[in-house]
Every structure is written in C-alpha cells, then in structure tokens.
C-alpha cells in the first residue's frame, strides 16, 4: 500500500509536467490514474522489498550530487566526441572491454549502465547473465585497466550512494 501511494504521487507529478500546468487538480488526476499503470507492471516496481519514507528523504542530497556529477560528465563527453569527429584524420582505437561492477540491484545496474553511456568515450553494450560484468564499448580502448578503474572510482561511487 505504501508503495502504491508513493509511486502514485510520483506519477501524478510526472502527469503535471507532461500536461504543462502544475496545479492540484492535475496532480490529483495523475495520482488517481497511477495505480492503473502500476498494477499490470507490479514486477517492475520491486514490491517484495521493504521501503521507508525516511530512507528516501535521506537519499535526496546524494541524488542531487549524482545528477550534478552526471551533468558535468555529459558536457565533457560531448566536447570529447566533438573533438574526435572534427579531427581531420581519424585516430581511434575502439574496442569492447568487460568491466566488473559492484552494484547488485536492478535499479543500480540500470543507473550505472545509463551513466556509462552518457559519459566520455564509453557505451554499454550488454550485461552478463550473472549481473556482475558490464560489456562496455570504448572509443579509446588502448588501456582497459585504466578505464575499469576510472569507471569504478569516478562513477560507481556516486551511483552506489544514490541508488543502493
């Protein structure tokens, strides 16, 4: 029940944003339509886990920090790819490398996979069956170990803090 209320409020907020005017009526319509959306897709919302409001409130500063880091990384990624594209002579060493990850939950894996795709020079291709290794395509794969380290130290810390 707690989950239905929480996700309905969230979906109500999204409904307001999609509608364009944020007011109480729209929020109520969205929140009332929420359970109809949540019900058929129960398995995606993790009903078996415990949830507490305090936990979510505690994570908000970490989420803000995560999105701040993500924003900086997106700008860096764009400048880097733009440089590669505008070089007169293509000089790249692409390749696919396996990156071990520590994240265990599905939400965390999704978050880190999307973050890797949006950050400089890397693109997630697949996750292994036991959910321990991500296969990452890198535009500059001449130093696989260094790339693994940079993903672990720079990105995974923030994802672990924000989503676990």
């Amino acid at each position: 029940m707690k989950r239905y209320i929480l996700y309905s409020m969230f979906l109500g907020l999204i409904w307001c944003f999609v509608h364009g005017t944020v007011n109480f009526n729209n929020f109520l319509i969205g929140a009332l339509l929420g359970p109809i959306v949540i019900r058929p897709f129960r398995s995606l919302y993790g009903f078996e886990n415990k949830i507490s409001y305090m936990n979510i409130v505690r994570k908000i500063p970490k989420l803000i920090r995560f999105f701040y880091v993500l924003f900086i990384e997106i700008i860096k990624a764009n400048v880097m790819v733009a440089k590669i594209i505008l070089q007169p002579k293509m000089n790249i060493k692409p390749g696919i490398i396996a990156v071990p990850i520590r994240t265990k939950t599905d939400v965390g894996i999704t978050a880190i996979a999307n973050t890797i795709t949006l950050t400089p020079g890397t693109l997630t291709i697949d996750v292994s069956d036991n959910k321990e290794v991500l296969y990452v395509h890198a535009i500059d794969a001449s130093d696989p170990q260094g790339l693994c380290d940079s993903i672990r130290d720079d990105l995974e810390e923030y994802v672990l803090e924000a989503f676990e």
Partner: protein
C-alpha cells in the same frame, strides 16, 4: 536599462545555436566514424546534448509557460531513453554478427559469446 526580453532573446538564441551545432556534429560523426558502435557514440551523446540545448532554448524564451514545462519534460525523457536505445541497438548488432571495425584493439564480449 536593458529590457528583460532582450536578455531572454539573447540567451535563447545562444542555446538554440549551441544545440543545433551539436546536432550537426552528431550527423557529421554518423558519416565519418567507421562502424556501428562508434556511430552510436556520436548519435547518443551528441544528440542528447543537442536536443537538450534546443529544449532549454524554448524554456529560456517562454519561461515556465505550459510549453516550457513540457520542453523540460521532453528533455529529461530524452536523457533517460537515449542510452537505452543505444544499448539495445549495440547489443542487437553484436548478436547479429556485425563485426567491429579494423582499427579495434580488443573485443572481450565476442570472446565470451562465440566459444
């Protein structure tokens, strides 16, 4: 005394130009880069920032009108869905046996799956 509308126009036009420039770069990358995986780099990363820039320019021009709020929402959804699309295209391509380009130095995914 400068009017606030003029400042809005300048910011909005600047963001629009940045966004359009990055979308243009993405298309150039699509033509120039050698194989499907490298091309995905160009389209996802640069396409995301390009589209986001155009959306921000709408917000700067109109403020928090309904259209502006919708533009923010569209931008956030692009940010969320572009990596997923790239991931699915990349995986489908690799499973269909699309090889990496000849400059590639390493392929640990292929080693794992073509035993």
């Amino acid at each position: 005394m400068i009017e606030i509308g003029l400042i809005q126009d300048i910011i909005s036009t600047f963001l629009l130009l940045v966004g359009a420039f990055f979308v243009f770069l993405g298309m150039v990358g699509l033509i120039r880069l050698p194989d499907v995986y490298n091309r995905l780099h160009a389209t996802t990363k640069i396409g995301t920032l390009g589209a986001f820039g155009v959306m921000l320019s709408i917000v700067a021009k109109l403020g928090l009108e309904p259209i502006g709020v919708k533009a923010i929402t569209v931008g956030l959804f692009i940010l969320l869905t572009a990596p997923v699309a790239a991931h699915m295209i990349g995986r489908a391509a690799h499973r269909h046996g699309v090889g990496l380009c000849k400059e590639s130095v390493i392929d640990e995914y292929g080693k794992e799956h073509n035993k």
